[in-house]
Amino acid sequence: MSLAKRIIPCLDVDNGRVVKGVKFVDIRDAGDPVEVARRYDQEGADEITFLDITASSDNRETIVHVVERVAEEVFIPLTVGGGIRTVADVQRMLNAGADKVAINTAAVFNPEFVKEASERVGSQCIVVAIDAKKVSAEGEPNRWEIFTHGGRKETGLDAIEWAKKMADYGAGEILLTSMDRDGTKIGFDLELTRAIAEAVPVPVIASGGVGNLEHLAEGVLEGKADAVLAASIFHFAEYTVGEAKQKMAERGIEVRL
């Protein structure tokens, strides 16, 4: 194999600014998205993901302008998620310069939307974001379910079945976030990651819980993820993307150096 495992820094964007919340509270300002994206590109990021967490729909246009500005000077793949509900939303983001669009809640409420969007723009542009939480009790076989609204609303959907269905409906990639781990810095839910990665025929991006570089390596080696996504460890300059890649290379993982 010579296909590299990818490291994807994620920027949570609120009203055009990069922020990072720990479990969606305590949101801290981490700068201008264009500057941050440029820095990640120079450090060797393989892709960049923007999650628009702007609450007010009045301010949704800001993320479009952010993507436009980034796409003018950063020549690596860009993914945008957050508030994508219609094929028109998908096309607006792609036209702004995004390469992929992440669909989350809208897929849960209307799975046909994923089918429609992937038929229109191609599976390669459609990422389905899955927020999963463990629902099995200690000692029971593992079971994870899909949650929406930042982990607050349960749906009763089994995470593995849901991931398979989404791949079947045309998702070109799965962005998997453990809601138990997101913001905790104690590492990915590796069992969840592996269960999904082995169940679907499309690439899986592991997300949620990265606190150090070893966690990233674990996501690939034990979680079998094709890519690993992290936000805060890169935002606050705890580690650079370059250091993350060195670490992964040391662990025998093929990366783009």
């Binding site: 191609g122 599976s123 542009c125 025929p201």
Partner: protein, 220 residues
């Protein structure tokens, strides 16, 4: 003023391609995104991108009466195909239950899954996820002006489920491994075409595009 025309046939967003070209173009070069055959005829360099399904690509090209103008350009001037813009240059694609393509080169566009099955590769066990997505190495199989300044086996960004299998293997300019070895770039006369996306491949991708904007279409 010299003109670089990016051919727009409604398949995918061309903003990234045009922005990357603007980034590397010389001061006297202008980048335009166009579906007008007159622009294609007038341009000095042609970039032929594309994403999506083969059937839709061929349909759009036909409806916009772009097949002949694009083929003519591919016979005459510096021409760069990207992703689907490489695939549709071949005669036939396995996509959408079989699609006739432009036929500039003899050969077929094949599905990775079929190749794995034929070669007895267990896709699930080997964890070969389709689409082939991410940064993979391109082994340069011939010296070419467009490879100038790009190290052997550099990584470029790929996202595709089908690959080209030209009858004349001498067309290959680059090879990549993904379960199987496949042709990831071709070059012949004034044509260069890549399966990967140079506009998304950071410094090496920009170098390739820069080399193209300086290329006169000859081999030296």
């Amino acid at each position: 003023m010299s003109l670089i025309a990016v051919v727009d046939y409604g398949m995918g967003n061309l903003r990234s391609v045009s922005k990357a070209l603007e980034h590397v173009a010389m001061a006297d070069q202008k980048v335009i995104v166009t579906s007008d055959p007159a622009d294609i005829a007038a341009a000095d360099h042609i970039v032929f991108p594309g994403q999506g399904a083969a059937r839709d690509c061929m349909l759009e090209l036909r409806q916009r009466r772009l097949i002949e103008p694009v083929l003519k350009a591919a016979r005459e001037k510096p021409f760069f195909g990207i992703c689907m813009g490489l695939q549709v240059l071949l005669a036939h694609s396995q996509e959408n239950k079989g699609i006739e393509c432009m036929g500039l080169y003899d050969g077929e566009v094949r599905f990775f899954g079929n190749a794995f099955a034929e070669q007895g590769i267990n896709q699930k066990e080997a964890m070969l996820k389709i689409p082939h997505m991410g940064w993979n190495r391109v082994h340069q199989t011939q010296a070419h002006p467009l490879w100038q300044g790009i190290a052997q086996d550099s990584r470029f960004y790929f996202v595709h489920s089908y690959y080209v299998s030209p009858v004349d293997q001498g067309l290959a300019a680059g090879e990549t491994e993904f379960g199987i070895k496949f042709v990831s770039a071709i070059a012949r006369d004034n044509v260069f075409a890549a399966q990967f996306h140079p506009e998304k491949s950071a410094a090496d991708g920009l170098q390739l595009l820069e080399n193209f904007t300086r290329w006169n279409g000859s081999q030296n």
